[in-house]
Point group: C2
Chain length 161, copies 2
């Protein structure tokens, strides 16, 4: 159960993200999100997930909580990967026509005005914050998760690209 120095293993990821191991396994098998550090190779091996993997998993989890199915979540993380800007300041906007990253609130209002169809909006800053807080309580199980802002140690682990 000890933390590996480079990456997170399956059961740890489940606790941080807030999903079951069955979901993580299903998503890895169906190519929704494979671990980018080390994939499984047989029945006793270990999957190793990176920090950005966990952020993407948390986005999926948030979408599921909002009632969005996995098919739409699949398109969401596909857009999240190809447009690799600064995640913490953007909003992920899933429309019927396509999927975009919106940098400001005005951009979202513009999309609504010209827009037909439904939009699913994910504020990525909140996602990153929640992931950092969850990783902190994984490191120190005694610490409460209600800290106003996470320590820079955890935030520094964020992937640049």
């Amino acid at each position: 159960m000890a933390r590996s120095e480079e990456g997170f293993r399956g059961p740890q990821v489940c606790k941080v993200v807030g999903i079951t191991y069955r979901q993580l396994d299903y998503w890895a098998r169906t190519d929704l999100l494979r671990p980018s550090l080390a994939d499984a190779h047989g029945s006793g091996s270990q999957r190793l997930y990176s920090y950005s993997d966990i952020v993407e998993l948390k986005v999926i989890k948030q979408l599921l909580d909002a009632g969005v199915n996995l098919g739409q979540a699949r398109r969401a993380i596909a857009c999240l990967r190809e447009s690799g800007g600064d995640l913490a300041t953007a909003n992920l906007v899933l429309g019927t026509q396509g999927t975009v990253l919106a940098r400001s609130g005005e951009e979202i209002v513009d999309l609504l005005r010209g827009g037909q169809g439904v939009f699913n909006i994910v504020p990525l800053a909140a996602v990153v914050d929640e992931v950092d807080a969850a990783i902190l309580v994984l490191d120190r199980p005694g610490t409460a998760a209600a800290g106003p802002e996470p320590l820079p140690e955890a935030r520094g682990r964020r992937a640049g690209s």
Copy 2:
């Protein structure tokens, strides 16, 4: 197949909304949306849907197209019914915390700022327009559906409450 003077029957509703009869039937059986004019009473009867029923059905259809499951759509139309304001100018906002009707774009930006979690936003004006256009081509099958704005005849059929 002729239009009943007061209300729309099942197969007509399917064409207007763009769903299958199986879906309409399933939604009526599971209490997602029963026809408000006449429910089914046995195997040879007919369901009669009102205009506002069709608008709500179109909202559900849009949500499904956006990847939202029926459970969330259930909460959506529940909110749509209890807050019975002017539909055509509002946006239906489904959050993880709850469901609201937002009147302006700034209201949505405020929700995004203070908000954690994902939002599903339905612009109701576009929904009403699409329903009106679909009803028009139901009346005159030769008319194309690409008209810039629907005729006032169909818009007048909208329910006040």
